[in-house]
Symmetry: C2
Subunit: 223 residues, 2 copies
């Protein structure tokens, strides 16, 4: 994969709440950690639902990763594929590697769904009153899983042994948790800070944000 032609898709711009949180960030971060060179195909906002993109990404989402002309989709799948090809992202030991696999799916299928439900209530449903009434209960569900994560992490710097792809996925999921829910969980805040301080993360984030800054004038109106 190091010698493959790799192309990530990314938006030229997204609204403010999503900036720094679009999922090509995960893919860029993993590629930076692995040291795999890649190109970025910049897509104008809105074109993700056009036939050309739907043909390679059936749900009109970002990101995709083209590997020597073959397209993969879903950030979790792409991250696992990159990790399989890089000793920087997976442990050598087979049992530890299986634990990393468990945590990758845990981050995306146990932690992210309630976090995403909270975001749906806050940002995407039109009945704001009903959403506000349900928020405390869903927030409690998020807190419930986060408190379990606190116990599992303990005082370890990373979730399994040294830094792995599981830390990339967990960190990006935790970055989407509202601040008030992380306020009383210092070990998780420190975990996020520790991983977002990595040069590879900073390079990935800058790559995404630079595009949005460059294209803001196309989408944003003064005032």
């Amino acid at each position: 994969m190091k010698d493959s032609q790799l192309t990530v898709t990314a938006y030229d711009w997204v609204p403010g709440f999503a900036q720094g949180h679009v999922r090509d960030l995960r893919v860029r971060w993993a590629l930076e950690e692995a040291g795999f060179p890649y190109d970025v195909e910049v897509m104008a906002q809105g074109t993700q639902k056009k036939p050309a993109h739907l043909k390679r990404q059936p749900f009109g989402q970002i990101p995709t990763l083209e590997i020597d002309g073959q397209t993969m989709f879903e950030s979790g799948a792409i991250l696992w594929r990159i990790a399989e090809a890089s000793a920087a992202l997976l442990p050598d030991d087979a049992a530890a590697r299986d634990r990393v696999l468990s945590w990758v799916f845990c981050a995306l299928n146990t932690l992210e769904p309630p976090v995403g439900m909270l975001a749906t209530l806050e940002l995407f449903v039109s009945d704001k009153d009903a959403a506000a009434r349900l928020r405390p209960e869903i927030a409690a569900a998020v807190t419930g899983v986060l408190e379990r994560l606190v116990v599992a992490l303990g005082d370890k710097p990373h979730i399994v042994g040294h830094f792995t792809v599981a830390d990339i996925v967990l960190t990006t999921v935790l970055r989407d948790v509202p601040d008030d829910l992380l306020a009383d969980l210092p070990s998780l805040r420190a975990y996020v800070d520790r991983h977002t301080a990595r040069p590879a993360f900073q390079t990935a984030l800058a790559g995404q944000m630079t595009l949005f800054a460059e294209n803001a004038a196309k989408y944003e109106r003064a005032g």
Copy 2:
């Protein structure tokens, strides 16, 4: 893995709405398709949140899979691990194998979250009025992704080439979609019917349901 000592955890009983839908079903199904012998460790309902289980499954969930004494968790991770070890669940071709990986994550991170949100609204939140008001909008989101899936599936019998682990995950996610949302999507209903007719699925389902029948008297009261 064929010669490994494999043990799946399963509940002795769950409430009616969850019967036939607990996620050890996925793992049993994959093991049956692969032809890997396995034991079942039956856990009394409630013991999943006790320290002994939390030590191996940090979120107190079912299932886990013990492989020669090492525990994996998250049904998606376990299924991928089984698939890696069985030609019955993955294609030989590398690009097709990557497409299967994309679909496994898609089923769990794009399709299942809105389906799960619908279930949360119906079954788990206490403010039933607020939940009912949000249901149409979340149902529309589910329909939106299902309609994309209809296009991606087309008239193929399986999502990628021959039967793979992606069909196991997709089928089990689609089985959790409320009937009214599948009513107008005959190709998805046929897809579910086609896969649940497989002998390996029927064996897996019977394995789960038999336990619940055997233990019903412990939990259910007449009337």
